[in-house]
């Protein structure tokens, strides 16, 4: 188990390294000169590129290390990133790492709440779909899945605001100051990711229901609840973990959109605001943070999967 975790951690590290290369490169390959972009953002508005002298540009290029060979630039940048230095925001002149750190709790809170919403939708709908496969209950759960995955989150969010905040006035539309503010964004984010999990749980449950051990358990005289929870659901939930990667991707990607719709004070909205200000280092830092979170989540899920499924657990013990 430990050896497996180490091996996976090593693979994860190599992917993380690859991520830093990609994040570094996308900033280098954007059209236009980064130095010009920095100058345009940092000096007073109203100035256009014609007014920037070649000397200014050369100075900034030199300051930014853009004249060094690419590998050296990368090494310098990576060295800074490893010490937690993601650079400085062009607009606020604050360290980006600090700015992200103050906003990440709000994003994690929203992600957690959305996960809860997802479970509340996906688990019952998946179980009912599996147990009543081919019946009307199954069809209803299927239609809900389809609607859920076809609904653009920004449209759903706006509709929820219109209904519950504007028309009914039950919940706040924007911001994150009041505790109940989280309800609408969490629903918006949770609905979008529930469909895949519900679908997977249904299929997985149908699979365990048709296993011979199900029949055997019935022949042992097990009660309905035992059959459902210990025999059908428990083995069926393990494969559902594999959808965690999909779910995490949906949560992290969707956060930017949903936070924008609800003006939620998380990292997603921070990044979207940075786009209009052409604050490139912030976009870069955000992308790096999200990818790192994603890799870590996938790593944890992978280990958890090994831990929960005794079959895989022993296979690994045998191999090492």
């Amino acid at each position: 188990m430990l050896a497996y975790a180490l091996r996976r951690a090593f693979a994860g590290l190599s992917v993380l390294l690859g991520i830093t290369v990609v994040v570094f490169l996308i900033l280098r390959f954007i059209p236009g000169d980064p130095a010009t972009a920095v100058l345009l953002t940092m000096v007073e508005p109203g100035l256009d590129s014609a007014q920037i002298t070649q000397r200014d540009i050369a100075d900034v290029r030199d300051q930014m290390g853009l004249n060094d060979p690419l590998p050296q630039q990368y090494a310098t940048w990576l060295g800074r990133v490893l010490t937690g230095n993601l650079g400085t925001s062009l607009r606020s002149r604050q360290p980006i790492a600090d700015e992200l750190a103050t906003r990440i709790p709000a994003t994690l809170k929203l992600g957690g709440a959305a996960l809860l919403v997802m479970f509340l939708i996906a688990i019952p709908s998946g179980i009912l779909g599996g147990l009543y496969a081919g019946r009307s209950t199954d069809h209803v759960s299927r239609v809900l899945s389809l609607v859920g995955e076809s609904m653009p989150s920004f449209f759903l969010g706006v509709l929820l605001i219109y209904l519950f905040a504007i028309k009914l006035g039950w919940l706040p539309a924007m911001g994150g100051r009041r505790p109940e503010s989280i309800i609408l964004p969490a629903i918006t984010l949770g609905v979008g990711i529930a469909a895949a999990t519900s679908r997977l749980l249904r299929a997985s449950l149908l699979d365990t229901l048709s296993q011979p051990y199900m029949l055997m358990a019935e022949a042992k005289g097990m009660k309905r609840s035992t059959l459902l929870f210990r025999y059908a659901l428990r083995p069926a939930l393990i494969p559902v973990l594999t959808s965690a990667s999909l779910v995490a991707g949906g949560l992290l990607g969707g956060a930017a959109v949903v936070e924008t719709v609800f003006a939620w004070p998380g990292v997603g909205r921070y990044m979207i605001e940075a786009i209009s200000g052409r604050d490139y280092p912030v976009i870069q830092g955000f992308t790096l943070l999200m990818a790192m979170l994603f890799v870590i989540i996938n790593f944890v899920v992978d280990i958890l999967y090994r831990f929960l499924d005794p079959r895989v657990r022993v296979e690994e013990r045998g191999n090492v």
Binding site: S14, V15, L16, G18, V22, V23, I26, I30, P31, L131, Y132, A133, G134, L146, E149, S150, P152, F154, F155, V158, L159, I161, Y162, A203, L206, L209, S210, Q211, P212, Y213, M216, A217, E218, A219, K220, G221, M222, R224, T226, L227, L228, R230, R234, P235, G249, L252, G253, A256, V257, I272, A274, I275, Y280, I283, T287, M290, A291, F294, P310, R311
Partner: protein, 578 residues
């Protein structure tokens, strides 16, 4: 494969009014979007501040926005952008994905290694995050939008196509072409790519909804075409501010995206089902069975059945038929006028070829007959009580307590995620009111009886060999000292020496507990080893029955004689008889 999928796809679409409706809507939307200039002469960008925020009316079907622009015509022109970006992205993604995937899969080696690494890294980003970053850094606009979507979408395709290619290039005709000296490019295009068309189309169908969603999300965030050009996601974003007084500004583009994506996903679903097949029948829906009023099964359940002299199992003139009209075998009779008697402590062998109905009979003895099958005639008595009308709950008390089962396949008869000890314990805990210590004592005792070491209590099923698993299944079956044991092909999945040991164990347990044993098998030698009496079945009917030695030496029915003659190593039976 693609032919079959296509046929199933069109087949399921024909029986599907919702699908046809969605298809019609999508075709109408696509046509309207294409023919936008013909439908209306209004301009999508011309502002008119005298006409601001008009509700839907005869001229402006969907009202006007806060610049006085017609929402309907903006919707049409916006659809052009949204759908075109998605369509171009699909083409690009497919081309890159297929090229990279095929090259990596076919050539392998360093190319494959590098490509796989790149794919791994790109897939390690949440898709939308990377798309936003790329689009944002490129400054927004139509081309960056296409690039952003393509960059994040191609790796997943490349990975799947690579897998397919690996598979296809192992096929005989590809190696044959290679041996014949066919140029590599012709193998790649002619043999491999051609075979991939089906899977690629399926992938595209499954993903196009997601791509449209991603395009509109990016344009909602202001990363699409720059204003004032219309685009669905951007229109929705612009309309948010005036939503309170002009909800149509949000509803029109939102519904447009929703309907198009819904249609795409719906067809994706149909395609997925045509490829994977969608199980529509829950296999054993005991949960659906109504909990009817309990019959008086307590006498049987409490095990004081020894008092009555009735047979353990007494079946008279049983008929089981397929009664579900939806089944293709509706009306087929599985068991026809079958009578069978298993006395107390008696061991009866039930012999028959596959499909003779012997397992259906065994299931009946446990109350496990399930739709589409049902008992249509005859009498079934269990220890003198009429069991034909017992409800699921009545049976639940009897199963595992008075009657128990040893199944054919020990590999899958145990729950893979529960420890063996727990699976044996729960049989006692469910049926008997025993103190904890007594349960533990009985658990150790029963393991000893089936010759399993105590360590299996803490082990998971996959840690045991096939023979050990079957012993664990037998331990579960006998732990409550039942009066009747149904063994349905209990040794078929085991190797020969293990078979004999399991058979001896069953025989031994039968003697020890005075068990009645119904032993179902297609193997005469196996039955000869355990059965006092045999019953031969064929096509749902009993053709012969009698004491084992008599049937094996002096069979009357030609089918039985045929079976006995065909039995390899007949010596075994003579030895046994002696």
């Amino acid at each position: 494969m693609s032919d079959r999928v296509l046929r199933r796809f069109s087949g399921s679409l024909r029986r599907d009014p919702v699908g046809i409706l969605l298809l019609a809507i999508v075709i109408i939307i696509a046509a309207a979007v294409m023919a936008a200039p013909l439908i209306s002469s209004l301009s999508p960008v011309a502002t008119d501040f005298k006409q601001v925020l008009l509700p839907p009316n005869a001229v402006n079907w969907l009202g006007t926005d806060d610049f006085g622009r017609d929402v309907f015509i903006r919707l049409l022109y916006g659809g052009r952008t949204s759908l075109m970006v998605a369509a171009i992205a699909v083409v690009i993604v497919m081309s890159i994905g297929v090229t990279v995937g095929v090259v990596a899969g076919y050539f392998g080696g360093v190319v494959d290694l590098v490509v796989t690494k790149v794919i791994d890294v790109l897939l390690a980003f949440p898709r939308l995050v990377l798309a936003i970053a790329v689009a944002a850094l490129m400054g927004g606009g139509m081309v960056p939008l296409v690039i952003a979507i393509s960059v994040v979408a191609w790796p997943a395709y490349a990975r799947i196509i690579r897998g397919f290619t690996l598979q296809v290039s192992q096929e005989g005709y590809v190696s044959a072409a290679r041996c014949l000296g066919t140029p590599t490019w012709r193998i790649l295009t002619g043999h491999i790519a051609l075979n991939l068309i089906g899977p690629i189309l399926v992938l595209a169908m499954l993903d196009i909804g997601n791509l449209i969603l991603a395009v509109s999300a990016l344009s909602f965030l202001g990363l699409g075409v720059p204003p004032p050009a219309p685009e669905w996601g951007a229109m929705l974003n612009e309309g948010r501010g005036s939503m309170e007084i002009a909800p149509w500004l949000v509803l029109a583009p939102g519904l447009a995206i929703f309907v198009v994506v819904l249609a795409a996903n719906y067809f994706g679903d149909i395609v997925r089902d045509s490829v994977e097949g969608r199980p529509v029948h829950g296999p054993r829906n005991w949960l659906r069975l109504p909990s009817r009023k309990r019959y008086k099964s307590v006498a049987v359940a409490s095990g004081n059945s020894a008092a009555s002299p009735a047979s353990a199992l007494d079946l008279q003139g049983l008929c089981i038929e397929v009664t579900d009209r939806r089944s293709p075998f509706f009306g087929k009779r599985i068991l026809n006028d079958v009578s069978l008697n298993v006395g107390r402590g008696e061991s009866v062998g039930l012999i028959g070829e596959s499909g003779s109905g012997k397992s259906t009979l065994a299931a009946l003895a446990l109350g496990l007959t399930r739709p589409p099958l049902a008992l249509t005639a005859g009498r079934a008595r269990l220890f003198g009580q009429d069991a034909a009308q017992w409800s699921w709950d009545d049976w639940q008390q009897v199963r595992g307590r008075t009657v128990s089962l040893v199944n054919q396949d020990p590999l899958s008869a145990l729950n893979p995620v529960l420890r063996v000890g727990d699976q044996i314990r729960e049989v006692m805990l469910t049926h008997l009111d025993m103190p904890r210590a007594a349960v533990e004592d009985r658990l150790r005792e029963v393991l000893d009886e089936v010759h399993l070491p105590e360590r299996v209590i803490r082990q998971f099923p996959h840690e045991l060999s096939g023979g050990m698993r079957q012993r664990a299944v037998i331990a579960m079956a006998i732990v409550n000292k039942p009066a009747l044991l149904i063994a349905d092909e209990p040794t078929t999945a085991l190797d020969v020496s293990t078979q004999i040991r399991i058979l001896d164990l069953l025989r031994d347990l039968q003697d020890r507990y005075g068990l009645a044993l119904l032993f179902v098998s297609h193997d005469l030698r196996v039955v000869a080893r355990v059965a006092d009496r045999v019953v031969i079945m064929r096509s749902g009917e009993v053709v012969e029955s009698g004491p084992t030695a008599k049937v094996f030496t002096a069979a009357t029915h030609p089918y039985t004689r045929e079976l006995v003659t065909a039995m390899p190593g007949r010596r075994l039976q003579t030895v046994k008889a002696a």
